[in-house]
Symmetry: C2
Subunit: 252 residues, 2 copies
């Protein structure tokens, strides 16, 4: 849409990062050709970059299948980086407790640009299926967790976000955001996919800004309106506790 990466940045490095960016949970293994097509780069160049990445353990090449995957070095760096995500560590015990109390999946979202990313997740132990994975990007305008963040951004930001919302839903969303600002909690029924519902609440930082939200989600069958109302209260309390831990002084 606007600014970011385009053009700027050291080309060689940017391309290498693009390579790493190709790997996802869904596609953790890629061949040389797949990669070079994905980032539109000559195979020779791609090979060379991959070689350096491999030498340093950022990617790993399977000698038999010739497929690449992300390497151990990234895992180790990830462990170091993890420690520096403050809110994650703060929220952890609260989220775990909420999961245990409700037996439903509890998720922490962070605002990143005009999206939210799942940073931490405590799944209901029994549900094998993981709906959202750590690192996954989701929209702000759909789902309880997104709306809880969106409602507390400034006008320009929200206005811009509304442009990506399909027509008639815009009106409805505006009203909903106003309510969220009042109640400090949000909900959603089958919004981001059929059969998934949830409740969420904003996390305030020391400056009173909202850069994160905590949400409970699960199958719509279990999330009846009155249950959701209860969950809204619960998650709101938890989010406030976390906010306070982070130095937020505001009212409940």
């Amino acid at each position: 849409m606007n600014d970011n990466d385009t053009g700027k940045g050291i080309r060689t490095l940017q391309r290498s990062i693009d390579i790493l960016e190709c790997f996802t949970y869904e596609q953790p293994e890629l061949t040389l050709t797949e990669i070079s097509k994905k980032i539109e780069l000559a195979k020779s160049t791609t090979t060379r970059l991959l070689a350096t990445l491999e030498q340093n353990g950022l990617v790993q090449k399977d000698g038999n299948t010739l497929k690449y995957r992300l390497g151990k070095k990234l895992y180790f760096w990830g462990q170091i980086a993890e420690k520096t995500i403050e809110i994650k560590e703060t929220a952890k015990p609260f989220m775990e407790k909420l999961r245990d109390d409700t037996r439903e999946t509890v998720t922490l979202y962070l605002l990143e640009g005009h999206q939210r990313v799942c940073v931490q997740r405590f799944g209901s132990k029994h549900s094998v299926q993981h709906i959202v994975k750590v690192g996954e990007q989701l929209p702000l305008w759909a789902g309880a967790g997104g709306k809880a963040i969106l409602a507390f951004q400034d006008e320009d930001f929200i206005e811009r976000e509304l442009t990506s919302v399909p027509g008639e839903q815009g009106e409805k969303l505006i009203n909903e955001l106003a309510v969220i600002r009042q109640t400090h909690s949000s909900y959603s029924f089958d919004e981001r996919g059929i059969g998934v519902s949830g409740a969420a609440a904003p996390v305030f930082n020391v400056k009173g800004e909202v850069k994160a939200s905590i949400g409970i989600s699960g199958p719509s069958i279990r999330f009846t309106p009155d249950i959701v109302e209860t969950y809204q209260e619960m998650v709101k309390d938890v989010a406030l506790e976390v906010s306070n831990e982070l130095g937020y002084q505001g009212k409940s």
Copy 2:
């Protein structure tokens, strides 16, 4: 000592990786000057590389202190990479059980070049102090976990390794490795530091090679010779179970 990185590799990319390599558990925050000194690179170049890294979320710059730290992107990639470390996932339940049975710290080491890296670790819940951290590099020739791996490498490899061992200890080590090859288990008393002792055993892969070991470690006061003997048996059994899961067909 020998081969690896020197010279080869795309310079720009290699330098960027070197930058990321500067960050450790002990020093997770660095200033521009610290980094540029550490990797001996002009400040201007370092700045430019850091800018691209920051744009992509591989590092994060604190606006106030101007210090850099590893970014969220690395954490997310780390999560993807984690899934592909097969032995780690396989060993997990076994290691957890061993920790619960013994109440001591259980660690998984992987052979990386001529070192071992800690890949997974289940600490005895009560001991706050973490002796070894995930991603940390340790020598092969000291400590039970190292010797368990070293004993099963080929002659050339071991010979070369012995050159880094202080004088008179060499003889002793050679004999010890022979025993380890017989018993499939190793031990150590105060070897890698005063007050730390342990027992370990090799993990065999489907080809019968040893690229990993599992170890139990803790304060020497608790690790009396007969306790260690018991632990050696326990960890040997666990390592064999993991080896079997990985497709190892060999004898116990």
